[in-house]
Subunit: 99 residues, 2 copies
């Protein structure tokens, strides 16, 4: 039987960590390091507005002459969010991420 | 049938990009952005000595008061390398990465 998202989340736990749009990228990096995660959700007044990943940081800060302490999360976060269901298989997730 | 590493590599192509230990982290970020990849292998005189990932960059540079233009790849690369075989399943890879 193929593993599903529900099974992975069951193993990893369902705690979700987030920052707000006005936080600095540096603060988001601290949260990611503290929680040992590779991305954080961005919530604005209770609404999910984006996600900030190590990829966003690696691509959109120093390479365009910005600094993590002077850049706000909102300026580099990814706002196009792809979601899956608990019953989605791990293989389907991999394919989605590879597209 | 579960997908294997060989199948994924077949889809993605087998080009491998690398940097050398003395390159700056900034240069490695440029290579990753240019090739649209999340990590680069580090070769020293033809020998594989490590891998540098977005995770290494997010954790081991600005949070410890370093800069990407003054830090060498060798100072933050990951040297403990986990490898898989072409016949390894995608699910087994996911489990290895989640450990």
């Amino acid at each position: 039987m193929q593993r599903t998202v529900a099974s992975v989340v069951g193993d990893k736990g369902s705690d979700v960590f987030f920052v707000v749009p006005g936080d600095t990228v540096y603060h988001a990096l601290e949260v990611m390091a503290d929680k040992n995660i590779g991305s954080v959700l961005v919530f604005d007044d209770g609404t999910l507005v984006g996600i900030l990943s190590e990829r966003d940081y690696a691509r959109k800060v120093i390479l365009v002459d910005r600094g993590s302490k002077e850049t706000a999360v909102v300026d580099i976060m990814t706002t196009q969010l792809n979601t899956v269901e608990p019953a989605t298989t791990v293989t389907a997730c991999m394919e989605l991420m590879t597209e």
